[in-house]
Symmetry: C2
Subunit: 182 residues, 2 copies
């Protein structure tokens, strides 16, 4: 079985409720976007493959006249998900931050340029924080869901990192302006 991770995202989402591929995409973007993303090119083939493995089942539904394939998790699927969750296999987190890479080699440009990177980054991060905070409000709606606690906690991870990043940007700008770390 290839492309394990995408499959577990799908299985996980289907423990929330049955949904279509399209809904999965938007849920991933909205909720796990800050630590996990998927593209069409991975999502749709994975759906087909999970169906073949009988880990999910599919049903054609019509909302009005629009047709969509709504997937549900099967018992085997639930079992496969739990196995993954309980497994102790190493969880890798990959990070590739091109801007940090640029900063690392910052000696090769003037401090003015480096500062401009950081100001842009700061701006972007601020917007991200605003979004996180509004998402935090939005999901209060699901406070009764057994998923809620876990959603809040993973969101708080994003918030914590975003705040740390903002502080760091400020520190960097100060340091680059003065030409030394304080």
């Amino acid at each position: 079985m290839k492309n394990q991770k995408t499959k577990f995202v799908i299985l996980g989402l289907l423990t929330i409720e049955p949904m279509s591929g399209y809904e999965m995409k938007s849920m991933i973007a909205k909720s796990t976007g800050h630590f996990w993303s998927e593209s069409n090119g991975q999502l749709y083939p994975a759906l087909k493959s999970l169906e073949k493995e009988k880990l999910i089942s599919v049903k054609k539904e019509l909302n009005g006249k629009k047709a969509s394939f709504v997937y549900s998790i099967t018992q085997e699927g639930q079992k496969a998900l739990e196995q993954w969750l309980e497994s102790d296999f190493e969880c890798k987190s990959i990070e590739r931050d091109e801007e940090l890479l640029k900063l690392f080699f910052g000696k090769n440009v003037t401090p003015v340029i480096a500062i401009s990177w950081l100001k842009k980054r700061q701006q972007r991060i601020k917007e991200k924080l605003t979004q996180f905070l509004s998402t935090e409000k939005e999901i209060e709606e699901y406070a009764k869901s057994p998923h809620y606690l876990y959603w809040v906690l993973s969101l708080k991870n994003g918030i914590a990192h975003t705040k740390a990043e903002l502080g760091w940007c400020q520190e960097c700008i100060r340091a680059l302006t003065k030409g030394r770390v304080s």
Copy 2:
């Protein structure tokens, strides 16, 4: 020109000093490891390719009887690096954190299991922080280098995130123990 990023890592490293592929690998692991990594399968082909493009030059060196190919950046290489650094093309940062993904779907396991994930994560992060702090001491040796400020700042990014992560882990463990966010 394919695989741009690996190439810029190489060019950047060569602005520090001429070095071999092997040295690059260990420098990447030590210094940019927390936000950028490269494997042999990317590094060595990229070296060949950069040489063809005349952005780096190579010289066979013998330390004792051991031979190695020591690369240097050319003027064109320096120019290419600066162009990348000054370019405003979107800098993507990708993040995929499998553990966070598991936590997001934590409803499907008992809180005890979720807490065990977090304790392990916390332990790992603590070790990471210790490492960062000792690296911080180690690089003081290069305080006179024009690269120093940028190295410290990118390191501090790792430290800031690590500390944020530790606080978050603590919060999660508390929340999962009590069954609600505080």
